[in-house]
């Protein structure tokens, strides 16, 4: 049986070391914790960089599971769409961002990695994922001009 797979964004605000009094990502955090909680006790984290690994591992620990590199009960993929959706987005507004994210929403195959880089998208680990249409999508929004998805393929 294939272990379940979850997708979360590499949002640093999810880390305990960046906690605020009023959680700016409360809804996203709740969705992430629920999704990661469905991956079982041994979770392998796939992320494109060190900060994504930390965010993924932080979520795994937050649900009481353990990060492993093999014999996993579930896989946590860390990545997200563009970070250029609005003028206040980290990478400012790029008019191509919305269409780029819409394409990802349809399919993670055949991602234009050059465009992804220009749009500050973290897509390196998304390429192998099935379509979002086949997942239980828990979160799909761009609250800070960054496109986030939380989804579980079970």
């Amino acid at each position: 049986m294939t272990p379940p797979v979850a997708l979360v964004p590499g949002v640093l605000a999810l880390l305990p070391s960046y906690a605020s009094i009023d959680d700016p990502v409360a809804e996203l955090r709740a969705a992430c914790l629920t999704a990661v909680g469905e991956l079982g006790p041994r979770v392998r984290v796939e992320a494109s960089g060190a900060s994504g690994v930390r965010v993924g591992a932080g979520l795994v620990r937050a649900v009481g599971a353990t990060v492993v590199t093999s014999a996993e009960s579930g896989v946590l993929v860390v990545g997200n769409g563009s970070a250029t959706r609005t003028e206040k987005a980290p990478g400012h507004l790029d008019p191509r961002a919305e269409a780029f994210d819409a394409t990802l929403r349809e399919s993670f195959s055949g991602i234009d990695q050059e465009l992804a880089t220009e749009l500050w998208a973290d897509t390196a680990c998304l390429a192998g994922l099935p379509r979002l249409a086949e997942a239980d999508v828990r979160y799909d929004d761009a609250p800070f001009g960054v496109q986030y998805w939380v989804a579980v393929w079970g």
Partner: protein, 285 residues
């Protein structure tokens, strides 16, 4: 720390808002002498988030002698009224007289703020009897309501620390709960401006005693003399001194301006790593 009916965590910084029942205090010049105005002041500062109101019936500076009976007439019923309208607010009363302390505690006060450093030795017994908190201040042994005149210290901070800790231990021995004892160097009380500046600079030495430290800096003369500013112009200087005390970890701030002081202390508390930012997302999305 426990102040009467309220407990506070080790990382809480508290605002103690001044409410004068006097016709002649230096900052507000009698603005809350009328009872309605005084209740309005309490409503205002509680609305601004002050955890404590400090009610005083006698101005600190010299002036017409106020008997214990007159002091009680000014504060006791008012304390009862505040307690009735605001059951959760911590009520402190600024008095050095045991007789007055007993009456206000019976009326619902939580804290006896002895601004004159134990001038009445029975005040600690009153605090113990009512399970009230006590603020132990340093005045260098001066008589209540007198100005400092040619007072010098070998080491003003050592004197303030030793005297307030001795007072705290006396309160403890009298039966006041350990978690209900606070020390206060009492800026400008028995101190010239140089003394108050030095106490501010070295306030960490008082924090290091382990007793929670209260500072009363608000619009005082050491700020005015340092900057050459009159009473109504000392907010910025007050907040600068507040920042220094907050960084060192002073826990209670006796203030006229609650909102500005709260912002200052919150900011410094976060710089010190004792309080998370309210809502940080920039760069963390």
């Amino acid at each position: 720390m426990r102040l009467g009916r309220q407990e506070f965590g080790d990382d809480d910084a508290l605002m103690m808002a001044i409410v004068n029942r006097t016709p002649d205090s230096f900052f507000d010049k009698g603005a809350t002498w009328g009872e309605d105005a005084a209740f309005a002041r309490v409503a205002e500062v509680v609305g601004q988030g002050a955890e404590i109101v400090d009610i005083g019936g006698i101005k600190a500076a010299p002036g017409v002698e106020i008997s214990a009976a007159e002091e009680k007439a000014r504060v006791v019923d008012f304390v009862a009224g505040v307690r009735e309208q605001w059951p959760d607010v911590v009520i402190s009363v600024d008095t050095w007289r045991a007789e007055v302390g007993d009456a206000v505690c019976a009326a619902g006060a939580d804290v006896l703020n002895d601004a004159w450093g134990g001038a009445d030795p029975e005040l600690v017994d009153v605090a113990a009897a009512h399970d009230a908190a006590i603020i132990c201040t340093h005045t260098g042994g001066v008589t209540p309501r007198t100005r400092p005149y040619r007072i010098e210290y070998d080491d003003v901070v050592a004197a303030a620390t030793n005297d307030t800790v001795a007072y705290a231990e006396r309160a403890l021995a009298a039966g006041v709960a350990r978690e209900s004892i606070v020390i206060d160097p009492a800026h400008d009380f028995g101190k010239n401006t140089f003394h108050s500046l030095e106490v501010t600079r070295r306030i960490d030495e008082m924090v290091a005693t382990g007793w929670p430290v209260l500072v009363s800096l608000s619009n005082k003369d050491f700020v005015g003399e340092t900057l050459g500013l009159d009473v109504g112009e000392r907010l910025v200087g007050t907040l600068a001194a507040t920042s220094v005390c907050a960084l060192a970890g002073a826990r209670i701030y006796r203030v006229h301006q609650v909102v500005e002081t709260r912002q200052t202390v919150d900011m410094v508390w976060s710089i010190a790593g004792r309080r998370p930012p309210l809502r940080a997302i920039r760069g963390l999305q």
